[in-house]
């Protein structure tokens, strides 16, 4: 999975002038790519499926899903029953092509492993339009089952971000279900770009805490900071005192902020493990 980690230098920082427009255009291109691949996958199977999807997308676009959620809720719920849970791309060559095209739209975005039902749910949500998406996402996540949560959190780069979105994602990161945590934290450019330092640090520390890998976290090296290094060093010390192993990846996350005490502790632990 670490092969998918990308250089976050490609990501346009929010503070740059024109970032909003650039961001909107990039998301529109990404959604068009997702719609094209989804339609292709459905065309190969049953035309009724394409018609159902088109009807649903049109209906969601025409109604206000926040005021009248029924149309959206039913389409969102029915997606896997109507269209199945097959992969969006079945062969390796097509996946690789989708991977390259996706990164060209949105750096760090990885839809190549998505299933049809996941793609359709993301298309349905984004059909509501930028003004509605953050609130609709929060509404949907309030009662989402596991596959729905995974689909939505993996698709964060396709959604416009505002203050509410950050609260939504931080709520998601508080999950007890590791797959949900990883849908946000792994192979996803959204956290590095949008989380503030406190939120970012909590995510990295939690990854270690729930035995999740650090390597698939995008921007890990760019966003290391002194406070995170302190938190990680404290955590390493706590593990050491409890006689529990310290995860190997912890050292990398310290970056240039590793203190001599932290290095000594990690070396000491390694020595103990070897003996």
């Amino acid at each position: 999975m670490s092969l998918q980690a990308i250089d976050t230098q490609d990501i346009v920082p929010d503070s740059l002038p024109g970032a909003d427009t650039t961001d909107r255009d990039a998301r529109a291109r990404a959604r068009a790519l997702l719609l094209e691949r989804t339609t292709n996958a459905l065309n190969g199977r049953a035309n009724q499926a394409v018609a159902w999807l088109e009807d649903c997308l049109a209906a969601v676009g025409e109604t206000d899903p926040l005021r009248e959620p029924r149309t959206f809720d039913l389409a969102f719920g029915l997606a896997p029953r109507r269209l199945g849970r097959d992969p969006l791309e079945t062969d390796q060559v097509a996946r690789e092509r989708l991977r390259r095209e996706a990164i060209a739209c949105l750096p760090g975005w990885h839809p190549e492993g998505w299933r049809l039902d996941e793609a359709v749910r993301v298309l349905l949500l984004t059909a509501a339009g930028d003004a509605v998406v953050p609130a609709l996402l929060a509404h949907t996540l309030r009662h989402a089952d596991l596959p729905e949560q995974l689909a939505l959190y993996r698709a964060l780069p396709l959604f416009p971000s505002d203050v509410d979105m950050i609260a939504t994602v931080r709520r998601g990161l508080r999950t007890n279900i590791r797959a949900v945590f990883e849908a946000i934290a792994h192979d996803n450019p959204w956290p590095a770009r949008h989380l503030d330092e406190a939120g970012w640090n909590q995510m990295v520390l939690k990854a270690l805490f729930v035995d999740s890998a650090l390597a698939p976290i995008q921007g890990l090296d760019d966003r290391c900071n002194a406070d995170l290094a302190r938190m990680l060093t404290d955590y390493a010390r706590e593990r050491f005192a409890a006689g529990r192993p310290i995860p190997d990846e912890l050292r990398r996350a310290l970056g240039p902020h590793a203190t001599p005490a932290a290095v000594a502790l990690l070396d000491d632990e390694r020595g103990l493990a070897a003996s």
């Binding site: 039913l74 719920g77 896997p80 029953r81 009662h143 089952d145 596991l146 797959a179």
Partner: protein, 308 residues
């Protein structure tokens, strides 16, 4: 032998129970939405309850190698709070189509009031609309009349009896429920419902066709191993193995499998995505050994002082 417990309120149970159930051969269970002892007074707490039984509880069960499904519905007790009931009816369509929801239930009568009747009927219509089976809770008091009334109302709404599981039956209600084509479920629950000995007598007398055994274990004094223990007792008393398998496994699978949300491959051949996200698998069954009916081997005692 593999077992399904098609009625277990696991949200009230501990990890010890999950371990014991997995060790006893319970591969799957169904958590019907019901009341929680304390009445809910806001729709939001109801919403979070439904999210919990189809979300975290499903995940929690999977970590012990037990597949978890649920039913959603407005129970008969809380149907008597009209303001709450109206609000719950608005959110139910949203939950009925979630992954792993195998029926609308448990619904029916408690005191057989007008409000209970109204929301029972409304939910039968929802079941038709969503093509889901129905789990009926028959009342504990005035049981015979309440059971007959439940069947009459189902028929009035044109519900196919083969899509309806009638639960909490006893020696009085079994004849009618089976004669009219419904699934007859029995909750092996100490003191108030059915007992293992009586259940074995019923299996001996009626056979296992459309008979389902469950534990209904919840926050009261109840037994999460009731299905496995009843199966063991039935085998000891000479009930044919095939009949025990039907009552304690096959019939529940056939009835709730009509939802399209529950199939044997879920536990025998789980998809790789499920194995990483939702389901740890049951190492005891994978090892091919006969499951052990009783408490888990490593039961905590005061003597085990080493907690890691």
């Amino acid at each position: 032998m593999m077992f399904i417990d098609p009625h277990a309120h696991m949200i009230s149970r501990t990890t010890d129970d999950y371990e014991a159930m997995a060790a006893a051969g319970i591969v799957a269970l169904i958590e019907p939405a019901f009341w929680q002892g304390q009445p809910r007074t806001h729709v939001a707490t109801y919403e979070d309850y439904l999210s919990a039984i189809l979300g975290f509880e499903r995940f929690r069960a999977g970590q012990f190698g037990v597949r978890h499904y649920c039913t959603v519905g407005l129970n008969s007790k809380e149907a008597n709070d009209e303001e709450l009931a109206e609000a719950v009816m608005d959110i139910l369509p949203r939950f009925a189509l979630k992954e792993g929801v195998v029926a609308i239930g448990e619904i029916g009568y408690d005191e057989q009031t007008a409000l209970e009747d109204r929301y029972f009927r409304a939910q039968l219509e929802l079941a038709k609309e969503t093509a889901l089976p129905v789990l009926i809770h028959t009342p504990h008091r005035d049981k015979m009349r309440g059971t007959l009334r439940s069947l009459d109302v189902c028929e009035e709404h044109g519900i196919d009896p083969s899509l309806v599981i009638v639960d909490h039956n006893n020696e009085e209600t079994i004849d009618t429920v089976l004669e009219r084509g419904y699934w007859a479920a029995f909750s092996i629950y100490p003191s108030t419902k059915m007992g293992s000995e009586r259940m074995v007598s019923l299996l001996t007398r009626y056979g296992a066709e459309r008979v389902i055994v469950d534990s209904a274990c919840d926050w009261g004094i109840s037994e999460p191993l009731a299905v496995a223990k009843t199966a063991q007792l039935a085998l000891e008393r000479g009930v044919p193995r095939a009949a025990v398998e039907l009552a304690c496994y096959g019939n529940a699978l056939a009835a709730y499998g009509r939802s399209g949300q529950m199939q044997e491959s879920d536990w025998l051949d789980p998809a790789s995505i499920d194995q990483t996200e939702l389901y740890a698998g049951n190492s005891i069954l994978r090892g091919g050994r006969e499951p052990v009916i009783e408490a888990p081997k490593v039961r905590r005692t005061a003597g085990d002082l080493d907690i890691r």
